[in-house]
């Protein structure tokens, strides 16, 4: 077991750190309002800066615009992004962390050349069209259909929880191409341009009071057959690759960022008073900070174990059995952080905005957002309950529940 970064890793770190020092000043603060065009423009500007400097797609092959470095250097990258307070991937999330890696593994050469460089340069923004109103945890029961008509698929149906749909150029989409086949065997993975006629995006207002995700309606949308990734009706296997990335490596950056969050919470607890004393002097608050910081360390260690496992396996695809453990631990930890944050700030929690005390900005809004937004984490990318079934059935070998039918 070795946790040391190589000389190469450390050289990369100092070069990146120096670049971030000036680049973060140049890019300025990300807008947090609901002007999605403005947010898209900001995120694209940042991605272009990263791309031009050679810091986009750290572990992606050079031929598709990446840096061709190791997953360990990718980890170094996330650590430095977190340390510098630079913007995270933002609306580039689906393209860089789901669709891109999936196309790289399962797409054909033309698809790779058409999309991967654009994703890294920030010119292509993606959204995800997997879930439907009737297909949540039971994703394979999805009904949005695509009927073959010559060289085209004609898509009709609805998707939901589609993050960044209002500003996306493409959608990674699962559609039903064989309604007669068993549910896992009639699904196809498609690349769908979002500017086609027949697509309607309706943003959903969520409890954190943002419109990050939308419902998307498809009415006889025609997509070339050449936009199919993998074989017709083989989309479930492609989707499992996508989900391995989604659960395995997509949240690495956030896992590292929460180390900073718990540090900030400790600092804030010493400046804020609740119930007649500093929050820090409340022994339960202080110890919970200790417990959560310990869990954050453990999650970081587990992430490094998984990165090493991926490196040893050699195929670059995260092991789902390891990924689900990280996802479960991460979601629960974020929710505990959210609860503790609100205990620390007390009645300042009634203000869904930063508050100023004696001229100091207490930055409480981030904690309130954490309190609410963390609730989505044990639902998105597969509920915690589904992840627990995966552990019990795949890691422990326990039998599935008997199938239930209504007739």
């Amino acid at each position: 077991m070795d946790l040391r970064y190589s000389e190469n890793d450390e050289a990369f770190r100092s070069e990146l750190r120096a670049w971030l020092h000036t680049a973060t000043k140049e890019i300025g603060i990300r807008p947090t309002n609901e002007d999605w065009a403005e947010r898209r423009a900001y995120d694209q500007r940042w991605q272009k800066m990263l791309f031009d400097a050679g810091y986009a797609g750290i572990n992606w092959p050079v031929e598709y615009g990446g840096r061709g470095a190791t997953l360990t250097e990718q980890l170094v990258y996330y650590e430095e992004i977190a340390r510098s307070g630079a913007p995270d991937v933002g609306i580039g999330f689906v393209g860089q962390l789901h669709a891109g890696p999936t196309i790289m593994m399962m797409g054909n050469e033309a698809q790779r050349r058409a999309h991967l460089p654009g994703i890294l340069a920030g010119t292509e923004v993606w959204c995800q069209g997997f879930s439907e109103p009737g297909a949540g945890s039971d994703l394979a029961s999805l009904q949005c259909k695509a009927v073959r008509d010559g060289d085209e698929y004609v898509i009709t149906g609805q998707k939901i929880w589609t993050s960044f749909a209002q500003v996306a150029d493409f959608c990674e989409m699962l559609v039903r191409t064989d309604p007669e086949a068993p549910k896992h065997k009639g699904i196809t993975w498609l690349i769908v341009p979002m500017d086609l006629p027949g697509i309607e995006v309706r943003p959903l207002r969520n409890m954190s009071d943002t419109t990050e995700f939308s419902e998307v309606f498809f009415d006889e949308v025609r997509v070339p057959v050449s936009n199919r990734v993998g074989d017709e009706n083989a989309g479930w296997r492609v989707a499992m690759t996508t989900l391995s990335f989604e659960r395995g490596t997509a949240f690495m950056a956030d896992q590292i960022l929460i180390g900073r969050l718990v540090q900030d919470m400790a600092a804030l607890s010493r400046r804020i008073t609740t119930g007649g004393h500093r929050s820090w002097d409340d022994v339960e608050i202080r110890r919970e900070l200790g417990h959560l910081a310990a869990e954050v360390d453990a999650l970081d260690a587990l992430t490094k174990r998984n990165v090493s496992a991926i490196a040893r396996a050699g195929d670059g695809i995260p092991d789902m059995n390891l990924a689900v453990v990280v996802k479960l631990a991460y979601s629960e930890l974020r929710q505990r952080l959210g609860r503790l944050g609100m205990n620390i700030i007390g009645r300042a929690g009634l203000v869904y905005d930063d508050i100023e005390v004696d001229g100091h900005d207490l930055a409480t809004r981030a904690l309130l957002y954490e309190r609410l937004h963390s609730l989505a984490l044990s639902i998105a990318a597969g509920t915690s309950q589904v992840q627990k079934n995966i552990i019990a059935e795949r890691v422990m070998g326990l039998p599935k529940e008997p199938t239930w039918t209504s007739n």
Partner: protein, 328 residues
């Protein structure tokens, strides 16, 4: 970075596991109840395998491996509920003659705090009749006591394989090391304790998985019910988190340039301590009524975990140390 076991480490785990399967089956451990808790012959064999000398430098008569390797041994010790003051003898290797080889059994205890208002708690000495040497740890250093000179009551122990003695007035003892060494013992001791707990938590998880797969109710294995699966999955997550942080802490001790070993050790103890307690409780629950019996092995692992949770001033002291590191 390659944060997975290397080939030598995998061999080490295999060898220790084979030894434990052969020498420390539960059928044998159950016969040790009521005794001193250490079998001299087995202890010497553990010494031969390097259980105590593993992380001691070759110049001092040790094997010269790292604390990470020792942690792997302690994890197996936990998985098999190995009795005896293994941690103390490991820490004492190189300081007390014979400890490294397993010829001398060294026990240890933290000195109870002086009374502030009320009675001073007696020292609770583990394995009092098995130890040749007792080391007392306090803020000023390490102190050596001959356990044969201690008088006190020998009550029924909570863990049947951790016999104890209540000593009201623990003597000062002869100082054998200063505050710095004592601090080092605490740091390394927390990591080894966490490793033992990881093994206990792991065994509690897999005892439960095995039972859930073979126990039928409603004409189905109870492990097919999601209510049971989710308890087991929670146990798995806790074990994996504890294992990752414990290995990270041990590796950080061995490779000090990668981080703060004291913080990592305290964090490992916090996470592992939570894992062993919660996994123990859930293992009883998954086993149902049988889990509450003496006959089923679960309680041995749970009770050893409850004993280990008191070491090094306990879990909450470690949580306080982690919290303090956030603002220092």
């Amino acid at each position: 970075m390659d944060f997975q076991l290397n080939a030598d480490q995998l061999d080490l785990v295999d060898a220790v596991q084979a030894f434990c399967i052969d020498q420390l089956p539960m059928s044998r451990l159950r016969t040790m109840e009521g005794g001193p808790g250490v079998d001299r012959d087995t202890w010497a064999q553990m010494g031969d395998m390097g259980w105590f000398a593993l992380s001691l430098a070759p110049d001092d008569g040790g094997v010269g491996l790292g604390l990470a390797d020792a942690a792997l041994v302690f994890e197996q010790a936990g998985r098999f509920c190995a009795p005896g003051p293994i941690m103390w003898s490991h820490l004492a290797a190189g300081l007390i003659d014979g400890a490294a080889q397993g010829a001398v059994v060294v026990g240890g205890v933290e000195r109870p705090a002086a009374a502030i208002d009320g009675a001073t708690m007696p020292a609770v000495i583990e394995y009092p009749d098995a130890c040749d040497v007792l080391i007392v740890v306090d803020d000023d250093g390490l102190w050596r006591i001959d356990p044969a000179t201690l008088s006190g009551r020998t009550p029924r122990p909570t863990d049947p394989l951790t016999p104890v003695k209540l000593v009201a007035d623990l003597p000062q003892g002869d100082q054998i090391a200063g505050a710095e060494v004592a601090a080092t013992w605490k740091l390394r001791g927390r990591i080894l304790t966490a490793a033992l707990m990881v093994g206990l938590a792991d065994r509690l998880e897999w005892l439960s998985v095995g039972y859930a797969a073979e126990r039928f109710q409603f004409n189905r294995p109870i492990g097919s019910f999601q209510s049971i699966k989710h308890l087991l999955a929670d146990m798995h997550v806790r074990t994996e988190m504890a294992r990752a942080q414990t290995y990270a802490a041990a590796v950080t001790w061995d490779q000090p340039d990668i981080g703060d070993a004291a913080r990592a050790a305290a964090a490992a103890l916090v996470v592992a301590s939570g894992a062993v307690e919660k996994n123990g409780d859930m293992a009883v629950q998954v086993h149902g009524g049988m889990g509450y019996t003496w006959e089923v092995d679960v309680h041995f692992f749970l009770k050893r975990g409850l004993v280990a949770r008191t070491w090094w001033s306990g879990t909450e002291a470690a949580a306080e140390d982690v919290a303090a590191s956030l603002v220092s």
